[in-house]
């Protein structure tokens, strides 16, 4: 395979960060990973088309992801089709290689569908699939100057690090040792940006304006107004004194799409236009992101981020634990909340052993961190080596990626699963002479062509 176009696809549940290596090295295209229908203009917007939308009231979302895992392939295909087309990336997938992210602990049956889409639908030459945090390590290892996370000039990349990846669907604590995710110490908290937005929606609708259908607007309010409190008790008292006027309260002027006026925070003493509607953001500003640190505030029986980090570190080799405490990195959109890092740092200091000083590495663009690391990885020889090629896939099907992509599945389970699959799909062991036994994917495609035609014609 000659050097070809490499496409990086950080396929997040909320936004896709995608680009072509060499063209979008630092600034990928960021598109909504959803099909959105606007009630206002009755338009349907697929993925990147949302840029054209002007009326963001009562948007109806169809998300390909459910609880962080890709389940709606019809929606995802529509969005990916648009992404690869001339409207966005303008790439010929059949002449390209792909680096795509998948969620931690992605299910094996979902992984097979990734393979099928990559090779059977888009005909990529080769592809590599991994969880977002693993790339962050690669970035650290390569010390590429445009990624700030962990990159300290003059010092080699740490062997031990712990990535806190807090995204749209959930939050993961991911320890990485010598470039490998230590899967048995990976922990998940089911709190992500989606839940926080929905919580704010509910609070605002109960207390002030009915915003239950205004996910887009409330998400903007969350991003502009919310912060992680570094002193929850104190902030609670401050906000309680005078709910309409204290050092915390902000007035958010709701957008008016009929006048093409976006929403914003009201400046001090700014006169209000006659029809402007104002939402008071008082304790909502900090009680909403607080859920990441105290999921039990909404009755979710899971530890907060800090204690989950401690749980995860406790599962790691004892002599290395200090190293993990000292290399904690933050990625994912929730790391953008002001105060996130400070709060985590102070809570971790209380949890870490006396002789360990927790050190947190954060990035200005925690959302793009994974993409940029992906670019760094794609430029390395390892990418070509570890990627599964179309030829390999055509020969042994998804077994190719099961063998080549290191992920959470224990080797023993993989081995015990393969014979089972073999009995279902035909022999898969290559040494048995794939040709005489007619390899399963090849046979499948020839048979399927007929079937596919029949269904599409109907």
């Amino acid at each position: 395979m000659k050097s070809s176009t490499v496409i990086i696809l950080d396929n997040g549940a909320s936004t896709i960060k995608a680009g072509v290596v060499g063209v979008h090295n630092t600034d990928p295209r960021v598109i909504t990973n959803a099909i959105v229908r606007s009630k206002g203009d009755k338009g349907t917007y697929i993925g990147h088309e949302l840029d054209k939308c002007r009326d963001f009231s009562s948007l109806h979302y169809r998300l390909p992801f459910e609880k962080g895992y890709l389940t709606d392939w019809d929606a995802e295909k529509a969005i990916w089709d648009g992404l690869f087309s001339h409207e966005v990336l303008a790439v010929n997938t059949a002449e390209s290689s792909l680096l795509i992210t998948e969620p931690y602990f992605n299910l094996p049956n979902i992984q097979d569908v990734y393979d099928q889409f990559v090779f059977e639908e888009y005909d990529f030459q080769s592809y590599y699939r991994c969880a977002p945090a693993i790339q962050t390590w690669l970035l650290a290892a390569s010390l590429i100057p445009y990624g700030k996370l962990y990159a300290r000039p003059g010092l080699p990349a740490p062997d031990c690090m712990l990535v806190v990846d807090s995204g749209f669907s959930f939050t993961h604590v991911v320890p990485i040792l010598n470039g490998e995710i230590v899967w048995n110490a990976v922990k998940r908290i089911d709190v992500g940006g989606k839940l926080l937005t929905n919580q704010l929606k509910e609070l605002a609708s109960f207390r002030q304006w009915n915003m239950m259908d205004e996910t887009h607007i409330v998400n903007n309010i969350k991003e502009k107004c919310c912060y992680v409190s570094t002193d929850f008790t104190q902030d609670m008292e401050t906000s309680h004194l005078n709910p309409r006027s204290n050092s915390i309260v902000q007035e958010y002027i709701l957008p008016d799409f009929s006048l093409n006026r976006p929403g914003r925070i009201r400046r001090r003493d700014e006169p209000l236009e006659g029809q402007a509607q104002v939402m008071y953001m008082n304790n909502e500003r900090f009680t909403v992101p607080e859920i990441m640190f105290r999921p039990d505030d909404i009755g979710l029986e899971q530890s907060g981020i800090a204690s989950t980090v401690a749980q995860s570190v406790a599962l790691l080799p004892e002599d290395l634990q200090g190293m993990f405490w000292a290399h904690i990195g933050l990625i994912g959109g929730n790391a953008k909340f002001p105060g996130f890092r400070e709060r985590l740092e102070s809570e971790l200091r209380a949890l870490a052993p006396v002789d360990c000083e927790p050190a947190i590495y954060s990035s200005k663009d925690p959302i793009l961190e994974s993409y940029r690391s992906g670019v760094a990885f794609a430029k390395k020889h390892a990418f070509t080596q570890q990627a599964v090629t179309r030829a390999e896939y055509l020969e042994i099907g998804s077994n190719a990626s099961r063998r080549k992509f290191r992920d959470w599945k224990p080797a023993s389970v993989d081995a015990s699963k393969e014979p089972e699959q073999a009995s279902r799909k035909g022999p898969t062991r290559p040494q048995r002479g794939t040709r005489d036994n007619s390899p399963p994917p090849a046979r499948k495609t020839s048979k399927d062509k007929g079937k596919g035609r029949a269904t599409t014609r109907r």
């Binding site: 169809r62 389940t71 001339h86 059977e120 989606k194 929905n198 899971q302």
Partner: protein, 170 residues
């Protein structure tokens, strides 16, 4: 007789009003609500009927293919038209929800020491839960005697009784 009745009534009160199972159910339902992508049921809205048929994402009857395939509806400049393979077509036409996929993946049968989606969840918190007023968000010192939701003062209690009490219980 009267001395006998009293304890009976007390247990009845406890059972019908503060049953921890009812509260747990309410919590789970609330958490499910927080996972939703849209508040309004798509079938209720009228615009774009053809998409609505399908939009609830996964409500298709078991074994029945999607009626409306959005990825077929749009042609993009520069994307070659092609017939999808059988596997791709199946994935597009038959959506399975996550619960079903987890079930079919067999990860529940992995050896207990193997880490999976199911085992990776963070353990329950060590601290006791904080009570936060369900009305205004301040510390909730009191709990509603009917539905156990916390509130902070008489004012919030009034709002709670009028609007919220037992709404989430069922």
């Amino acid at each position: 007789m009267p001395p006998r009745r009293q304890p009976q009534r007390q247990t009845q009160v406890a059972a019908s009003y503060l049953d921890p199972e009812v509260i747990a159910k309410r919590r789970r339902r609330h958490l499910d609500e927080l996972e939703r992508s849209n508040y309004a049921e798509p079938s209720a809205s009228l615009a774009g009927i053809e998409e609505d048929e399908d939009a609830p994402a996964g409500r298709s009857v078991k074994g029945k293919a999607r009626q409306f395939v959005i990825s077929d509806k749009r042609e993009w400049p520069g994307m070659p038209k092609k017939k999808s393979s059988h596997s791709v077509r199946t994935a597009v036409l038959y959506k399975k929800n996550l619960e079903k996929l987890i079930d079919e993946s067999g990860i529940a049968n992995y050896p207990p020491e193997a880490p999976t989606y199911l085992s990776a969840v963070a353990s329950p918190p060590r601290e006791p839960p904080r009570l936060i007023c369900s009305v205004c968000g301040y510390w909730g010192k009191y709990k509603c005697r009917k539905c156990a939701m916390p509130y902070c003062d008489l004012n919030c209690e009034g709002v709670h009784n009028e609007t919220r009490c037992e709404r989430r219980v069922m």
